[in-house]
C-alpha cells in the first residue's frame, strides 16, 4: 500500500486516480486524460529565485539539461547547487530524473526551483537523493508554477548513518501540483527536518505529501507545515510517519496548521502515524482556522488598512516555517519571496 506510484507521461495508465489512496485528493488522471505533446528543447538565461546565493547552477529546461549527470557533493566545506526545473513550452509535457548524491561527510545546500514560464504545461520530476554517512543536506524548494500547469515532483531519499536532512518546500500551487518526499530514516544519530508552506489563491491546488519511515533506533524527525488558502484554492497535506518494528526510541513530531481565508477554499489534511515499535515519542498536531477577527480590528484601529492587517497576520502565521531554515542566505531569499506574495 506504500508502494510509490511511478508516473510516466508517455503512459496514461500510469496516471494515478483518486481511487489510489495516496492520490485521493490529487487526481492526476482526471486532470490529464491523454499523454501531452512532448516539450521542445529550450534554453534559459542563468538566474532563478536563488541566483543571489551563487553555487553551481543546473537548469533542467523542459526536462533536459545538456551534459548534466546529476548533482554530486564531495569533499570538505559546504557546497551550493542551484537546481532549476524550468518549463517554457505552452501545452506540452516533459519529465526528468535527477540524482543528488552527498558523499560521506560532505555538506550540500540544494536550492531547488520550479519555474513556470509558459501556460498549461505538464512537468513530471523524479529525484533520487542519497546521503552518505555523516553527510548533511539542506534542501530548500521554491515552486512557482503557472496557475494552469500540472506539476509533480517526487523525491526518494536514502540516508546514511548519522546524516542530517533538512527540507523546506514553499509553494504557490498550480492547477494540480504534488510535491512528495519519501524518506528512509536510519535512526541513531540521523536527523530529519521536513517542512512545508503553501500559499494558494484563485483555483490553485497544492499537495504536500511525505512518508518518513523510521527503521533504526532513536531516530529524530521534526515536521512543520503551514498553509493559507484563499478564493477556491485547495491545500492538501499528507504526512505519514512510520515507526518500524524495532525502531525504539524514535522521536517524531509533526504539525500541520492552515488558515482558510476563502469561503470556498479547502484544506485536506491527513496526518498519519503508524507505530510498530515500543518506547517511542510521536506527536502530531493539526489545526485549521481563520484570521483572528479581534486581532484584525485591533490592527485596523491603529491605522492599518484591512488588507495590510490581513497580510501582516498571514505573514506572522507563516513565518514560523521560514524561521526554521538554518541557512541565513536561503532564509532571507525565502522571506522576501513570501512577503512579495502576501
Amino acid at each position: 500500500m506504500n508502494a510509490p506510484v511511478r508516473i510516466d507521461l508517455k503512459d496514461v495508465s500510469s496516471f494515478p486516480t483518486r481511487r489510489v489512496e495516496a492520490w485521493k485528493y490529487t487526481d492526476l488522471h482526471r486532470a490529464l486524460r491523454e499523454t501531452p505533446p512532448v516539450s521542445p528543447h529550450a534554453e534559459v538565461a542563468p538566474g532563478g529565485p536563488f541566483a543571489a546565493l551563487g553555487g553551481d547552477e543546473w537548469a533542467v529546461v523542459n526536462g533536459r539539461c545538456v551534459g548534466f549527470a546529476g548533482v554530486v557533493a564531495d569533499g570538505p566545506g559546504e557546497q551550493v547547487a542551484r537546481l532549476r526545473f524550468v518549463s517554457t513550452a505552452d501545452g506540452a509535457g516533459h519529465q526528468a530524473r535527477v540524482t543528488v548524491e552527498v558523499g560521506a561527510g560532505a555538506s550540500l545546500l540544494l536550492l531547488e526551483s520550479y519555474e513556470g514560464q509558459a501556460a498549461a504545461y505538464v512537468s513530471n520530476v523524479a529525484l533520487a537523493i542519497s546521503l552518505g554517512a555523516g553527510a548533511r543536506l539542506h534542501r530548500v524548494v521554491i515552486e512557482d508554477d503557472a496557475a494552469d500547469a500540472l506539476s509533480v515532483s517526487v523525491a526518494e531519499v536514502t540516508m546514511g548513518k548519522g546524516s542530517h536532512f533538512a527540507q523546506t518546500v514553499l509553494t504557490t500551487g498550480a492547477r494540480l501540483q504534488r510535491h512528495e518526499t519519501r524518506l528512509a530514516h536510519p535512526g541513531e544519530g540521523a536527523e530529519v527536518r521536513i517542512d512545508g508552506l503553501y500559499l494558494l489563491d484563485g483555483a490553485r491546488h497544492a499537495d504536500l505529501t511525505s512518508v518518513v519511515s523510521h527503521a533504526g533506533l532513536n531516530g529524530v524527525t521534526s515536521q512543520l507545515t503551514k498553509g493559507v488558502v484563499r478564493d477556491t484554492a485547495r491545500g492538501v497535506f499528507q504526512g505519514k510517519i512510520i515507526v518500524e518494528r524495532g525502531a525504539d526510541g524514535t522521536d517524531a513530531r509533526m504539525g500541520h496548521h492552515a488558515l482558510i481565508l476563502g469561503e470556498r477554499a479547502e484544506v485536506d489534511a491527513k496526518p498519519e502515524l503508524e507505530i510498530y515499535a515500543d518506547d517511542v515519542q510521536c506527536a502530531h498536531g493539526n489545526t485549521v482556522g481563520n484570521l483572528d477577527e479581534a486581532a484584525l480590528f485591533y490592527m485596523q484601529q491603529r491605522g492599518l488598512p484591512a488588507d495590510e492587517a490581513r497580510a501582516l497576520l498571514t505573514q506572522a502565521f507563516l513565518i514560523e516555517v521560514v524561521d526554521r531554515i538554518e541557512h541565513d542566505g536561503a532564509r532571507e531569499v525565502v522571506r522576501e519571496w513570501l512577503t512579495a506574495r502576501l
Binding site: 483572528d292 477577527e293 479581534a294 486581532a295 480590528f297 485591533y298 490592527m299 485596523q300 484601529q301 491603529r302 491605522g303 492599518l304 488598512p305 484591512a306 495590510e308 492587517a309 501582516l312 497576520l313 505573514q315 506572522a316 502565521f317 513565518i319 514560523e320
Partner: protein, 251 residues
C-alpha cells in the same frame, strides 16, 4: 468648540439594543469620564466610535471635528485621530511590537498624505517614549503583547498613543488589572497627552482612575444612555452611593 459630537446613537448587538439614543458632546481640550455599571454599554460606546465590525449604529450620528465618522472604516477613523485604548489589548504572535507600531504610524501618515517616518527617526521616538513610560526597550522587540503582564500591555497602549499622537483618545477601563504604581505611570502618560486640541473619553467603572486623570465632566451611562452629567464631584458621589439609583427598577 465641540470636537466629538455623538447624537442619538443606537447600537444593537445580536438583536439586543445596547445603546439607546446616546447623546454626548466633548469640547476641545477637555477630558470627559464615562462611568456606569457593568453592562451599561460603556465598551460598546468605544467600539462604535472606533468602528468595530458588529457594532454599527442603527441610528444616530457621530462626528469628529465636524466630520462624520460612521461612514469610515476603522483605519480611516484612526487616520483622522481616533485612538481606542483596549480594556484587553490583543496579543499578536509573530509581529514584533516595534514593527507593528511603525507599520501603523506610517499607514496613518500615508492615509493623511504625509511623509513616512524613517527607521532611525522612529527608533529615536520610541526610545524616548519608552523611557518616559519606564518600559524596557528590549520588550518592544518581542511579539506585540505576547507574554506581557497586564500592566505591560496597558503601558504598550499608552506608548502607542504617544507615538501615534491621536486627537481623540478613548480609554476603555484602562485601570483594570493595574496595581497602584502601574496606574500612576499610565495616568502620567495620559496626562502628558492633554492638550487644547485633543479630547479624551475616559471609560471606567471605578472612581479610582479619576483621582489620577482629572476629568472636566463626568457622565453616567446606564441602560444605553447618558442619564446624568456633572463635574468631578459626581464621580465621588457615585463611588459613595453606587449606581443603584440609575438602574431600572426591578418589576
Amino acid at each position: 468648540m465641540t470636537m466629538l459630537s455623538i447624537h442619538n446613537l443606537r447600537v444593537t448587538i445580536a438583536d439586543k439594543p445596547i445603546l439607546n439614543g446616546l447623546t454626548l458632546d466633548v469640547p476641545a481640550g477637555e477630558v470627559h469620564a464615562i462611568m456606569g455599571p457593568n453592562g451599561a454599554g460603556k465598551s460598546t460606546l468605544g467600539y462604535a466610535v472606533a468602528g468595530r465590525p458588529g457594532y454599527e449604529a442603527t441610528e444616530g450620528a457621530v462626528s469628529w471635528k465636524g466630520e462624520d465618522l460612521l461612514g469610515l472604516d476603522p483605519a480611516e477613523r484612526a487616520a483622522k485621530g481616533v485612538f481606542l485604548s483596549f480594556q484587553y489589548p490583543i496579543e499578536i504572535p509573530g509581529v514584533p511590537a516595534l514593527t507593528f507600531v511603525r507599520t501603523a504610524l506610517n499607514a496613518q501618515k500615508r492615509a493623511r498624505g504625509e511623509d513616512e517616518v524613517s527607521a532611525p527617526a522612529f527608533l529615536k521616538m520610541v526610545k524616548a517614549a519608552a523611557a518616559a513610560l519606564k518600559m524596557d526597550f528590549d520588550m518592544l522587540k518581542r511579539p506585540l503583547n505576547v507574554g506581557f503582564s497586564g500592566g505591560e500591555k496597558k503601558r504598550m497602549e499608552i506608548l502607542q498613543m504617544a507615538l501615534l499622537e491621536p486627537s481623540l483618545l478613548i480609554l476603555d477601563e484602562t485601570d483594570s488589572g493595574l496595581d497602584i504604581d502601574a496606574l500612576r505611570i499610565v495616568a502620567d502618560g495620559v496626562n502628558a497627552m492633554r492638550r487644547p486640541d485633543r479630547a479624551m473619553l475616559v471609560i471606567t467603572h471605578y472612581q479610582r482612575l479619576l483621582d489620577y486623570i482629572r476629568p472636566d465632566q463626568v457622565h453616567v451611562l446606564a441602560g444605553g444612555r447618558i442619564v446624568a452629567s456633572g463635574g468631578p464631584e459626581l464621580a465621588h458621589k457615585l463611588e459613595a452611593e453606587g449606581y443603584d439609583k440609575y438602574l431600572p427598577v426591578a418589576a
